[in-house]
């Protein structure tokens, strides 16, 4: 039976940035989601969730809503599915039943009418110790803040859970809410999460070059990637909002640096 470190290094070798393990019992113990969304209901053999994350590189993410980010989005999507599928294949070859849940699950054709998925990679990654959901509903990680993308492998193998991130990472600064071009976020700023209008979010998301909007992850001040790229000052993001509507008319170049 492969142990956690073997599985972890296998996934790193395929390109995973963060890998975490969470026993499925954590779903019921924390009670954040209705039982229908627990892995055991989706696949009765499931004992452990393996959360896998790859980063959205900050300079590319900063070019949102331009093409460079779109391209990175598609590229990380295919990498995520490849890592998860091959990790599941590896476990199955070792005789440990495993399946990968594809990274999206919204369905391209139905996104605007049904902006929800049957399985949440965010909560899986929370229970697997990668980070904590922030006010913007994205998983904040110490390494990348919300600038990363997630996928999950479920396995029948019982593995010890990684410690969960106990302290809040979100500072409730409200930058995500102010930057959102669709005003999707509202509610009590002290609450764990905002009330998010998914229809507003998705409606905006699919218009022209707005696809894969993601302002709420771009402007988030959390994450060590800001140190690496020397982008700790996030004040300049606020200036952009003013010209956003001009871009949607096609006046935007393929990419821009925002200063």
């Amino acid at each position: 039976m492969p142990d956690k470190e073997t599985i972890r290094s296998f996934a790193y070798g395929l390109g995973a940035g963060l890998v975490g393990f969470g026993p499925v019992e954590r779903y019921a113990a924390h009670g954040d989601l209705p039982a229908a969304f627990h892995p055991q209901n989706i696949w009765p053999q499931a004992k452990t969730v393996i959360a896998l994350s790859v980063p959205s590189l900050l300079p590319t993410t900063e070019t949102k809503v331009a093409h460079l980010y779109r391209s990175q989005y598609h590229n990380t999507n295919s990498l995520l599915d490849e890592i998860a599928y091959r990790t599941a294949a590896y476990l199955n070859r070792q005789g440990c039943a495993a399946i990968n849940i594809s990274r999206d699950g919204y369905g391209t054709g139905t996104l605007q009418i049904k902006p929800a998925a049957s399985f949440s990679h965010v909560w899986a990654a929370y229970y697997a110790g990668l980070g904590v959901p922030g006010w913007n509903h994205a998983l904040l990680t110490p390494q990348y803040g919300p600038r990363h993308r997630l996928v999950t492998v479920l396995t029948a193998l019982e593995l010890e859970g990684d410690p969960m991130v106990e302290n809040e990472l979100c500072t409730r600064c409200g930058a995500c809410a102010r930057a959102c071009p669709a005003q999707s976020f509202s509610g009590d700023p002290r609450a764990a999460q905002s009330d998010m209008d998914r229809f507003a979010c998705m409606g905006r998301d699919r218009v022209g070059i707005y696809a894969h909007c993601g302002f709420c992850i771009k402007v988030c001040p959390i994450g060590e990637d800001r140190v690496l790229y020397d982008r700790q000052n996030t004040a300049h993001y606020a200036k952009e909002a003013a010209c956003v509507d001009a871009w949607s008319l096609g006046l935007a170049p393929g990419a821009r640096r925002w200063v």
Partner: protein
């Protein structure tokens, strides 16, 4: 370099910014600093752009260009590799123009070849290649490296092809000589010959990647659809890697395209399965599909043809299905019918059902693959069996425990739309089903 080589990159140029004069940069309209400041050097990665047919199933998941995907993935991983070592880096995608922006703006934000042109790069040729770039704050003297695995004229061996395919993500690899074609397999006539695709083909290479039962059990659903698309993409990438290696050695090599949905009734629809049988990967079942020992019919397949002569594998003898015809019994379209000489397949009905699912964004149907009891994966994924599938199909699951139906229905209720009711011209013959004979009567 080892990382890039393992990811299929053929050429790498490392160009310090000092090689690029400001005047030349200005003339080319090239300004790395305008995209991301502080760039010290560029890595330009190259892979030959070989002709491949597009993947029909990937139409909605963004255009999938296998060569660009290979390059973008490698460039992204190189950027992260450098980040992890403390050199901030970022990759620029192969196509920097932007699909939505084409209408308004035809100038890409960045042209990968410009840097090579300005640096007059080490006399290395990038003709016929696609390129991708990594901007980094790593400094260096500059270098040009060729990473190709084989020298021209030194042809890869069967073992080498197997190793590369498995390293690139294929689970099984089989080989067949084109001489194995001719004559029907399991009642399905050979209407296509490998030489219809490549006139001097000598060897057929078949790659297989498994689909997991718990996910095929959720068909029709977006997760089931995604799983097939991702397995197809993985095989496309593995096949592209093989094409690069074989063509570098001077062999001709082409991939057999998967027929789009509208042509799923065409002769090409069974070509992949038949090739898999001839390459020793499994037997042909009553559903017309390749039944592998490990995964039954739950595999995605990719077929390559080459003029390189390689020893073929031996097809498996015997019959996998025996008395079972669960696929025909449970086909929602009544497209499979037991006849005296085996199974008659009504491709038009199959297509009708799949088109209906496609409108609801949850194509493929896959019932004949989903319910098949063949395959060792049935032991690994303990769970659903014939009784469960029958109960679901007959609408009598109320008599059985809610698991696994609850999970399947939960998944199906997201990401796709309710499926239109089936064509009532097909009806189930309940007496025949009760007698265990299966099947659906054509009331047309």
């Amino acid at each position: 370099m080892r990382l890039l080589s393992a990811l299929g990159i053929e050429k790498v140029w490392h160009i310090p910014m000092t090689f690029l004069s400001p005047e030349a940069l200005w003339q080319h309209g090239l300004s790395p600093d305008a995209i991301w400041p502080g760039v010290k050097s560029l890595f330009v990665l190259g892979v030959r752009d070989l002709p491949v047919a597009p993947l029909p199933a990937a139409k909605e998941a963004g255009a999938f260009d296998v060569c660009s995907n290979l390059l973008d993935t490698a460039a992204y991983r190189l950027a992260r590799h450098l980040n992890d070592r403390g050199y901030p880096s970022v990759n620029l995608p192969v196509d920097g123009t932007g699909e939505h922006i084409h209408e308004f703006k035809t100038v890409p934000v960045y042209r990968h070849k410009d840097a090579l042109d300005i640096a007059r790069c080490m006399d290395a040729q990038a003709d016929g290649m696609k390129l991708s770039t990594v901007f980094t704050r790593l400094e260096g003297p500059g270098a040009y490296t060729e990473l190709r695995g084989y020298a021209p004229g030194i042809h890869p061996t069967k073992q080498g092809i197997e190793q590369l395919s498995v390293q690139a993500g294929a689970e099984r690899v089989g080989f067949a000589s084109v001489d194995a074609w001719g004559g029907p397999v399991a009642g399905i006539a050979d209407t296509l010959h490998p030489r219809d695709y490549l006139s001097d083909a000598r060897t057929v290479i078949v790659l297989a990647a498994p689909l997991w039962i718990p996910i095929t059990d959720m068909l029709p659903s977006i997760l089931g659809r995604d799983q097939l698309i991702m397995a197809d993409k993985l095989l496309e990438k593995a096949a592209y890697r093989l094409m690069l290696e074989l063509s570098a050695a001077g062999s001709k090599v082409v991939g057999v395209p998967k027929p789009p949905l509208g042509e799923s009734a065409a002769p090409a629809a069974y070509f992949h399965d038949q090739a898999g049988y001839r390459a020793g990967l499994g037997r042909i079942g009553k559903n017309g599909r390749l039944l592998t020992e490990a995964f039954g019919p739950r595999v995605a397949l990719k077929v390559l043809l080459t003029d390189l002569a390689l020893p073929g594998d031996t097809p498996l003898s015997g019959d996998e299905c025996g008395g079972c015809s669960l696929c025909a019994e449970l086909c929602p379209a009544g497209a499979l019918k037991a006849t005296g000489e085996g199974m008659a397949r009504d491709a038009a009905r199959c297509l009708e059902q799949r088109t209906r699912l496609d409108k609801s964004f949850c194509e493929p149907c896959g019932q004949c693959v989903r319910v098949c009891p063949a395959g060792l994966d049935r032991t690994l994924f303990a769970g659903a069996g014939a009784d469960i599938y029958r109960a679901e199909s007959m609408g009598t699951q109320g008599a059985l425990p809610a698991i696994p139906f609850a999970g399947w229905n939960h998944v199906r209720s997201f990401g796709s739309l309710p499926v239109e009711p089936p064509d009532t011209r097909c009806r189930r013959d309940e007496t025949a089903v009760a007698a265990g004979k299966g099947a659906i009567v054509d009331a047309r």
